[in-house]
Each structure stands twice: as C-alpha cells, then as structure tokens.
Amino acid sequence: MNPREVLPGLVLLAVIAVLPLVASNVVLNFLLSSLIVALAAQGWNLLGGYAGQLSFGHAAFFGTGAYATAVLQIRYGVNAWVGLAVGIALGAAVGWVIGALSFRARLRGSYFALVTLAFAEVLRILANAADFTGGASGLLIRLSPGVENLQFASRAAFLWLLASAVAAVLLLTAWIAHHRFGAHLVAVRENEDAARALGVDVLRTKLRAIALSGGVTAAAGCLYAQNFLYLDANIAYGTWISIEVLIACVLGGTGTVLGPVVGALALHGVGELAKLALGRVAGPVPGVDLVVFGALLILAVAFLPRGMMAGLQRLTRGLAR
C-alpha cells in the first residue's frame, strides 16, 4: 500500500471528523448525505473503476442493504447492528447472483450495464408490490436513539461512524490496488482475453469484484436507512443512487483510491454551494441551483475527462516543475 495514496483521504476524513465541533447541523447533514454517497461510490469504484465492469444498477445493492436492515428490525425485532452485518452479506450475495447470471452469459460493456439496470428495476417493482417491504407505503424504522440501536441523538456520532466506514473502505481499496487481486482486476479491465491467456480466472475475479462491490454499497444502504429511518421502493432501489454513485466516480476519477470520496463531496458540495450562493443573490428561486449544478457538471466532465484526481495530479506535477 502506498501511504501517499491514502494519506490525503485520511486527512480529509479526519478534518470531516472534527467538523462537528464547529459546524452547524445543516453542514453535518450535508456531510452525512455526501459520505453515504461516497461509501456507495467506493463500492461502485471496485467493480466499475478497477474491474472495468460498468454498472448502472448499484441501486440493487444499496436497496438490498437498506431493506435488510429495516425489515429485520421492524418485522423480526433483530438488532440494527446485526441488521447491518446481514445487509452487507445480502448485498454481496445479490452482487454474486447478478454477476453469476450476467458474467456466465458473457455480458460485457453496455450490455452488462443495461442488465444491472434491469435487475435494480425488477427489485424496485418487487419491493413496491411485496407486503413484507411495506409495499408502496414503505417502511418506517422506529425512532429510538441509542448506540445499541445504531441511532444517534447527535449528528456528530453518526458522522464519525460514517467517516470510519469510508476510511476503512479507503484502506481496503488502497490495499487491493497493490495486491494480486487488484492486478487481476486491472488486467480484466484492460483486456479480458489477454488476462485469461496470462492465467487469470476472469469469471472468478469478476464475481469477487461484484460481491465486494455489492457488500460495500449495501453498507451505504444500511447506514442510509439508519440515518433517515424511512424507506420506500423508490428511495432504496430508485435510479437516483445508481446515477449519483456513477457521477461521483466519474467526477472524482474512476479506478483511483480517492476518486469516489472526492467526487461525492464535490458533487454534493457544488449543489449546496450553488443553492446557498444563488439563494442569497437571486432570492428563493426553486431549482436554480440545479441548473448551475448541471452546468458545472458539464464543465467538469468537459475539462477533467479523467476526473478531479487526475486534474489534481496534473496540477501538482505542473507546480513541481
């Protein structure tokens, strides 16, 4: 593991962790949402960034984690921490099943992307219709703050938990990137046939990647459910999360250790700042922030096609010269 890769990320998370001492709840709430997306995006990055298997349906894992935590608590009285562990395991299992079905059928590129989208949509429709998921009424986790219930009276405690989770996945990603498994992932991404010729078990590598990716994204879903305490099919399995994790990774830099975290913070940060600044200048004009946000996103993708991390590297190299 290269310390130079993870150090900026850990410093960033440490700064976020001390923010509750000075920042308002509005800022903490923004950070909570951003870090949930960052965690889910880290999951996407393992499959899409390192293994090159672009998924449009990470909502399938996010929703499975969220629903597992909520259903286990509400219907079976299971402790939330156990729900979190089961949620992560189920997310990984759903990833493995989707992977087994689509990779065995040799689906690649846009075909794989569309199949993942279809799986997420099927799960959304099923969750919307089934009784045990609360159907269209959704599920409401009972408000009972307490560490044992994975609910916290203060936003700061939840932020620390989330920052720890993001830091853990950051370290895991950095470790994988320099491990044999990481090399296999990159080999599969660059040229599947060549990787196979070199003796890489392509199917096994991809299945491990999607299971790991599913587990990490499911963890984000579990924590989302514990933070907002309300879920319905459109939140859990909606396309919004698939799109947000994709944009966060593209913006930050796919296949980089820090990219998803930087991308998620920038994605939400730009939106919030645009809303704040324009709200002050133009008054309360609903949606004007989204217009600016969209325009900035286009500019970022146009001028930083390899993501913000690549842009930062270019900048630091330029300054060093």
Binding site: V26, G138, P286
Partner: protein
C-alpha cells in the same frame, strides 16, 4: 459659490426628520420580534405544482394574520414564513427540516406527499419541533406515537370510507345505474392502498370489480389502459392517480370515445383542480372526486379563492389546506403565549380552532389527528368545481349518471 438660504420650513422639516430618525429604534423595539414558521413544500421535482399551490396558501395566511395585527398575545408579533424546498423526495424533506431547525422556526407546516411528511415529521421529532401535515393522507403519519405531529385534514381511512359510503348513496339515489367498476391506480403509496380497499369494500355493496389496473408515475402513455377499458366497458371508472396521469387518461378516453356512466375519483390530483377544468373542459365535465376541498359557504374561503383567481392562479385544495394549517399554528402560538415549542405542541394538542376555512366539524386532536376532519365530494359542472356532498356544505346537486 451658491448659497442656499435655510428657511423656517426647511429647518422644521429637517428637525422633524431628525427626531423621527432618532426615535426609530424605540419604535422598532416596541414591535415584537417576528415568529418564524417553517413551510416545507416540494417546490422542485415531480410535485412542484402542488408545492407552489401550498406555498400560495401559506403565504396568503401569513399576509392575512399580519394585516390583522399579528399575534395579540405576543404583543402583535408578526409571522415570518421560512420556505424550504423538499425537492419532491423524503430525503431532501428530512434535510430541509435541519435547515428550518437552524433558522429557529417554532413549527413546520406542509410536506404534501405522505413519504415526505413521514420522513420530515420524524426528523422534526428529534428536536421536539411541532409539525403540522397539510395534505399527506397516510394513516401511519399520525399512528407512530410522535407527539410533535398533527394533521388538520382527514387521513386515508376517513377519506376512503367516506368515498365508499357516498358512492353507494349516490348510486342508490340514482336507481343503481352502476354495477360494474374498473379501478385504475398509480402504483405508489396512496393509489395501491386505495385500490386494495375499494376491491375489498365495493363487492360487499353489490358492485362487481371487473379489473384493477395499476400504472407507474410518471406514465407517458395511457393508450393500453384506455383500450382495456374499452373492452371491459365498465359502468363506473374509479381512478386514483396524480395530476398528469389522470389528465392523460381522461384525454385518451375522450379521444377513444370511452364514456362510462361515471368517473368517480378518490383523492385525485386533477379532478379537483381548476387547471384541468379550464384546460380540458370536455374531458373534465361530470368527473366526481372525493377529496379535500374548502368550505364553499365560508366567506373567508370565498374571498381567498377570489383573490387567487384575480391573481390569475389556479385554485386547488392545497391552497385552503395550507392557509388553514398556518392559521392553526399561529393560533396555537398565540394561545401558548410564547414561541416555545413545548408550549405550542401542548396548545396544538388542546386546540379547538374554528378559524380555518375547511368544511370540518369541531377541531379536536386525538393522537395528532383532527377528529372533525372529513373529505367532501366534488363534481365538475359547467366549467366549475362544485361540492355535491355532504349536503350541509354542498353548493350543487350531483349529476349522475352522466349518460343514462
């Protein structure tokens, strides 16, 4: 150099101005600090139209309260509305509650959609912040035991039982012309629940439910549903959809000349909306709805509607509901005697407020739900929306069946 002589009038004027300026802080101090009420509405996204209507009603209420002298028990303190955008999703709704908490509001009104109300009221409960739901009908909103959550309007159970009861009365009074029914509903929270309830209740009263057809929101094409309706030929169509989907369905039915004996909507997004009536008068004619509506015999409601009409805006139930909810909260703050959240919650729980403009019975909150709340039946007649049930507030008689 030109010298401007100072005459007596100018000197007196300047002295008076100076005195007024110096006295200004005293005048400002005499005016009590404004009481902030949060308004949470989906101002962007799929539900933006409803959010804007809600804002219109809330702003009208604040203008009315302030022009009537503010809150007397708080030294004439004015109300200041702090508007937050729930962006048509529960997550943003819960986040905006944090923003309103940061702004120091004494209570929050609104939410519109049930999922937003559920998430936002729970977020407000963390701060013991009073939350008054404007429209959200899910029964679970007031059955979770949250002491901070109140609903002035009727919930799902009350609306649906009134809808079934009134439909039977309507059909019986017309000599039972309708025997077969098709339910078309959006596959979300209220549509699915309503369809399930109707499919259980209607057969008990002699109706045959031919089919239940769900559709997603948003839906871009209703041709298949219209074709199904053409082949089933029901006497009565019961749609439960949001605005866009119902307008699309009724227009498609019109184009394909599908004319059941009645269209009886429940909590429909369009059937009680003047925009639909004005833009598609043919499709809207005769459509009935069991929904929230203002009291057409209340002079304040009539005046507010005239004010909205004069401003060139379309009238819908969101306006009187938000108007009434803001007034309810203002009354509670006034009775509490301070912008203190715990006292406002206690004042709301004990409220018997009658200054609202809804056709409700005596206000009495049990577990946060107003027991006096009830829906009304409306019908589109001659380019207008008339109340046809209950008779004591009705301003027209039902026209049913539409074609014999």
């Amino acid at each position: 150099m030109t010298v401007y002589p100072i005459n007596r009038r100018a000197l007196l004027g300047a002295a008076a101005s100076g005195a007024a300026l110096l006295a200004m802080p005293t005048v400002l101090r005499a005016q009590s600090a404004a009481v902030k009420i949060g308004l949470l509405q989906p101002l962007t996204g799929a539900l933006a139209q409803d959010g804007e209507l809600g804002r219109l009603g809330a702003e009208a209420a604040v203008a009315k309260i302030n022009s009537d002298g503010g809150l007397p028990a708080l030294g004439g303190a004015k109300i200041e509305l702090v508007v937050a955008d729930a962006r048509s999703n529960p997550e943003a709704g819960a986040q905006e509650v944090e923003k309103l908490q940061g702004e120091g509001v004494v209570a929050i009104v609104g939410g519109f959609a049930s999922p937003i109300c559920l998430a936002a009221s729970q977020a407000a409960a963390r701060y013991d912040l009073p939350y008054v739901v404007d429209v959200g009908v899910a029964d679970s909103i007031v059955t979770r035991g949250l002491a901070n959550t109140f609903r002035l309007a009727p919930g799902f159970g009350t609306v649906t039982s009134a809808a079934v009861e009134n439909l039977i009365r309507l059909n019986d009074a017309a000599g039972k012309p309708c025997k077969t029914v098709v339910l078309v509903h959006e596959d979300g929270l209220f549509g699915s629940g309503l369809a399930r309830l109707m499919a259980t209740e209607l057969p008990k009263h002699g109706f045959e439910v031919l089919e239940t057809i769900p559709h997603p929101t948003p839906a871009r094409d209703m041709n298949n549903i219209a074709l199904r309706l053409r082949s089933l030929r029901p006497d009565l169509l019961i749609p439960s959809s949001y605005y866009g989907e119902f307008v699309l369905l009724s227009r498609t039915m019109r184009q394909q000349r599908i004319r059941p004996k009645g269209i009886y909507a429940v909590l429909n997004g369009a059937a009680s909306n003047y925009r639909f009536v004005k833009e598609f008068p043919d499709a809207a004619l005769g459509v009935m709805d069991c929904n929230h509506w203002h009291d057409p015999k209340n002079p304040e409601a009539v005046a507010l509607k005239a004010q909205v009409d004069a401003a060139g805006k379309f009238w819908a139930y969101n306006i009187p509901l938000n108007y009434s909810c803001v007034k309810l909260v203002a009354d509670a703050v006034n009775r509490a005697g301070a912008a203190d959240r715990a006292k406002v919650i206690a004042a709301l729980a004990a409220s018997d407020y009658s200054g609202h403009i809804m056709p409700y019975g005596a206000t009495r909150f049990v577990g946060g739900q107003n027991q006096g709340a009830r829906p009304v039946n409306t019908q589109v007649q001659d380019g207008d929306i008339k109340v046809i049930f209950p008779t004591e507030v009705a301003d027209a008689r039902p026209v049913f069946p539409i074609q014999g």
